[in-house]
Symmetry: C2
Subunit: 235 residues, 2 copies
């Protein structure tokens, strides 16, 4: 039986990675005199990976990792003006307006009429709250959880708190690693809706052959999929 649908937020309901990419381009332009773009991006990704355990996910940690990379690749010669520009770029990310993805509002609205719908997202607390408020979708959700990581244990807790347990829940998102695989491990359904851009640290292989795994082209197909899953698993 399926009672509760959880949605990832960034790059599932609204654009996110595109803002990171734009900022990263700005970053490589700012440091163009000091390092080649490819080298910079590799160093930045290494810093992000190294810092994830300290900073967690989100714009603030990304900004700190950009600054750290700027100091490193210039061997301590980056001008303070450039640091100021990186800070400004980070603050702009925290102010960018929300762009909902196609079919996001319709899919959540349709499913909210029949199921409990949740938002489960990683990132900075205040930033994710701001984006949800600005999305205009806030009132549709029966529960919102901003979490430091997406693990099977977290999904069990969240779907127990707001639903009827992870085994009666479905998680929908663009990240196989964060949205799909740990939800399957928690006993629920995992639905992958790929986004054209996904952060390298979120890459994973699709769990082909798992009966509770599904993938869709976009969110317009979600209500039908949910209907089919529910019809097959009625108690």
């Amino acid at each position: 039986m399926l009672t509760t649908i959880g949605f990832d937020a960034d790059d599932t309901l609204w654009q996110n990675e595109s803002f990171f990419r734009l900022t990263q381009e700005r970053f490589t332009t700012l440091l163009a005199d000091h390092a080649a773009p490819d080298h910079l991006q590799a160093r930045l990704l290494a810093a992000e990976r190294r810092n994830l355990g300290h900073y967690g996910f989100g714009v603030k940690g990304f900004t700190l990792s950009m600054i750290e990379t700027a100091v490193e690749v210039t061997e301590g010669r980056v001008p303070a003006r450039v640091i100021g520009e990186i800070l400004a770029a980070g603050r702009e990310m925290l102010e960018h307006p929300i762009h909902l993805l196609p079919h996001a509002r319709a899919a959540v609205t349709t499913l909210a009429a029949e199921y409990r719908v949740l938002l489960v997202t990683k990132g900075d607390l205040l930033d994710q709250e701001r984006k949800l408020a600005q999305s205009g979708l806030g009132d549709l959700f029966d529960g919102v959880e901003i979490v430091s990581n997406k693990t099977p244990e977290i999904y069990k807790l969240v779907f127990a708190r707001h639903g009827t347990g992870a085994d009666q829940g479905m998680m929908v998102g663009n990240s196989l690693k964060s949205d799909v695989l740990p939800m399957l491990a928690a006993g629920g359904w995992g639905v992958h809706v790929p986004h054209e851009m996904t952060w390298e640290l979120e890459a994973a292989d699709a769990p082909r052959g798992d009966g509770r795994f599904h993938d869709l082209t976009d969110l317009s197909q979600l209500p039908d999929l949910v209907g089919r899953v529910a019809a097959t698993h009625q108690t």
Copy 2:
């Protein structure tokens, strides 16, 4: 009737502001050639206040505000080496071991036997989770909420979710502005346990004359106070 006791975390259960002060001293030393300590501290506080709406509370935003202040006060001449030192100081804050405050463990343990006990804290998600895990108090709490701000609405939500409503709840903390006043406004009890160091942006006047306001010297007095409040307000 009193059913649920909420505890603030930083500087109520464990030391926090002292780590910020130590880092701030390191910051003023690093920039000693560029500005007087008093001036630096004032500029840093202004940056923190200005950035609060973007960054929220916590170490990551504090680190970003230190970097911003360093760029500003040096008029763009701060050496990248100093920026690297500020980043390192921020990361050290995210790794510092927990120092429980006197009577914290005993007070929570005693009250957990008879009441629902909650932890309600602001700050960076991952950092606050780390500190709670390290404190060894995690299993005592019936609910943990890391929130972006502490408002009457937030307290109403949190005490409804984990307790029996804010009017049957008590919030205990070192900040009049965040722990006491909004909880009184939500209809609950507010108990102030001052800490020798409190961040300037958390200052507020004590609500003398409010029958649901109490202040204590330290947490050893809390179980007795709770007993008196409960005896007076039994249904």
